[in-house]
């Protein structure tokens, strides 16, 4: 069945957000290796990936390195 994706509210903890997340109102399918996640222009690995609690005004950016040139 289709699970309604949770929206990542910037004031809420990232822990509650499953791997299916919205970014700028666009549903992003579950993260897979090859997709870079930048939080405020920094690699999310430095922030502990999903352990990081999103703060207000945080800028999250997804860059796919798959299907690249």
């Amino acid at each position: 069945g289709y699970q309604k994706p949770a929206k990542v509210d910037q004031t809420e903890s990232a822990e509650r957000a499953p791997r299916i997340i919205y970014a700028r109102g666009i549903c992003v399918s579950s993260w897979r290796p090859g997709i870079l996640v930048l939080i405020n222009d920094a690699d999310w690995e430095l922030m502990g990936e999903l352990d990081y609690k999103l703060q207000d005004q945080d800028n999250v950016l997804f860059i796919s390195t798959l299907h690249g040139g």
Binding site: P33, G34, L36, D43, L61, T65, L66, G68, G69
Partner: protein
């Protein structure tokens, strides 16, 4: 700031260490619009614009191949992509060529033949060439002549206003791809057509080098994928820095030391423009390809073991290309131009398993192609459509080679041998 230094330095070090690009040489940059090739373009731009002493010294041209026909793009989408790419290319001021994959259908048979030159020619020492070039430049400056810098050209040459090919051509190309039974065969077919088209562009426009933007990640994936495809013998040419299988045109991979992640960060921080297009279109019945499986495998492994990709890459670096062999066209694979790695009697044992039922068309039958292909191309060929769907240039070249082989066999007993054996029959 230090990331930028590191990134730029790596590019120059890669070129400097290998010393295959001579000053003043015409180098064609193969751009896909993707991240790695866009970063490569930026490095070339930066490298050429530095002060004289440290400046890169070759003459670049750009080529972009529109593959939208096989990537599920509509004509409108392809037009849009082409416009964006053209704007990007025009910005650089370098001469550029816009091609479409459909043009691969019209290639001449000569594209499958190794060109003259390459390893048989004694090349001047790199250092001497650089010194000679600097001297020449000083002379030109002293006598007041301008150099042939890109900015003084009359704008881009070549097919700058080529638009989409005729719909009939597009359909023909799509039929060719649809006839392939597996996504793996399609991927291989795409790569083959793309490389032939690049080679042809380079040859006709006078470029002796082609730069492709394969990143470290891509090279590692390709290494293992090609191993699984049966191309173990050719890993060095397929993934190495230098690929000289074509003889007159050498393919160079300057981005092979950059991880995909590094490239992504660089592009993001320094505003490198990219034009992303969808990948090869896969039908529902095709689950996946060896290429995608391998990419997925390596990337997932990389998450928990971050040295995976670099380990595969470094292992691949230890491979070196086999020394150049005889130039006879009968000894190279029809499709990939690598040395034929199956000889003699083994072919007969493999044939029944590789060839399906024949309609008895003589030269057009699959059996006629088999002896002309290397092991992995045979496997790919088996999964492609009937030979009649193949592009004309492949079929004519195949026929040409089959005839020559037959002819050679017929006159074999009359040929003088080097050793003292008595000729058979009389």
């Amino acid at each position: 700031a230090c990331f930028r230094e590191y990134f730029v330095h790596k590019f120059r070090a890669m070129l400097g260490k290998n010393r295959v690009i001579f000053p003043g040489e015409k180098v064609l940059l193969a751009l896909s619009g993707g991240m790695a090739s866009s970063a490569m373009l930026r490095q070339v731009q930066e490298g050429l614009s530095r002060e004289t002493a440290k400046r890169l010294r070759f003459v670049p041209g750009l080529v972009y191949i529109d593959e939208g026909a096989v990537c599920g793009q509509s004509r409108v989408q392809r037009e849009q992509t082409l416009s964006r790419m053209e704007a990007l290319l025009q910005e650089t001021g370098f001469p550029y060529y816009l091609a479409s994959l459909e043009q691969a259908l019209e290639l001449p048979g000569s594209v499958l033949r190794r060109g003259p030159g390459g390893d048989s020619e004694p090349s001047p020492s790199y250092k001497a060439a650089v010194e000679g070039f600097i001297q020449q430049q000083r002379q030109e400056e002293a006598s007041g002549e301008g150099g042939t810098s890109p900015s003084t050209q009359d704008g881009p040459t070549g097919d700058s206003h080529a638009r989409l090919p005729a719909a009939a051509r597009t359909e023909e190309l799509q039929r060719l791809f649809d006839a392939a039974e597996t996504l793996t065969a399609k991927e291989e077919l795409l790569q083959m057509l793309r490389s032939h088209l690049l080679l042809h562009t380079a040859r006709t426009q006078g470029y002796t080098k082609v730069m492709t933007g394969e990143s470290c990640t891509r090279v590692a994936v390709k290494l293992l994928t090609n191993l699984a495809l049966g191309r173990g013998a050719f890993l060095a040419v397929d993934t190495g820095f230098v690929d000289s299988r074509h003889g007159d045109v050498t393919v160079v991979r300057p981005m092979r030391d950059y991880m995909a992640k590094e490239i992504a960060f660089y592009n993001h921080f320094f505003g490198v423009p990219t034009v992303i297009t969808p990948p090869l279109h896969a039908k529902r019945r095709e689950k996946t390809s060896i290429h995608r499986l391998m990419e997925s495998f390596l990337l997932r492994l990389q998450v928990d073991f971050p040295s995976t990709i670099s380990t595969v890459y470094r292992t691949g670096e230890k491979l070196s290309a086999a020394p150049a062999e005889a130039n006879s066209e009968l000894q190279r694979c029809l499709l990939c131009l690598c040395a034929l790695d199956i000889a003699g009697e083994e072919e007969l044992a493999l044939e029944p398993t590789l060839v399906k039922e024949e309609t008895g068309n003589g030269a057009e039958s699959r059996a006629a192609f088999i002896p002309l292909l290397c092991y992995s191309c045979r496997l790919t060929f088996k999964e492609m459509g009937p030979p009649a769907t193949l592009p004309t240039y492949v079929r004519t070249e195949a026929q040409h080679r089959s005839c020559r082989a037959l002819m050679k066999q017929q006159i074999q007993e009359f040929l003088l041998e080097d050793d003292e054996e008595e000729p058979g029959g009389s």
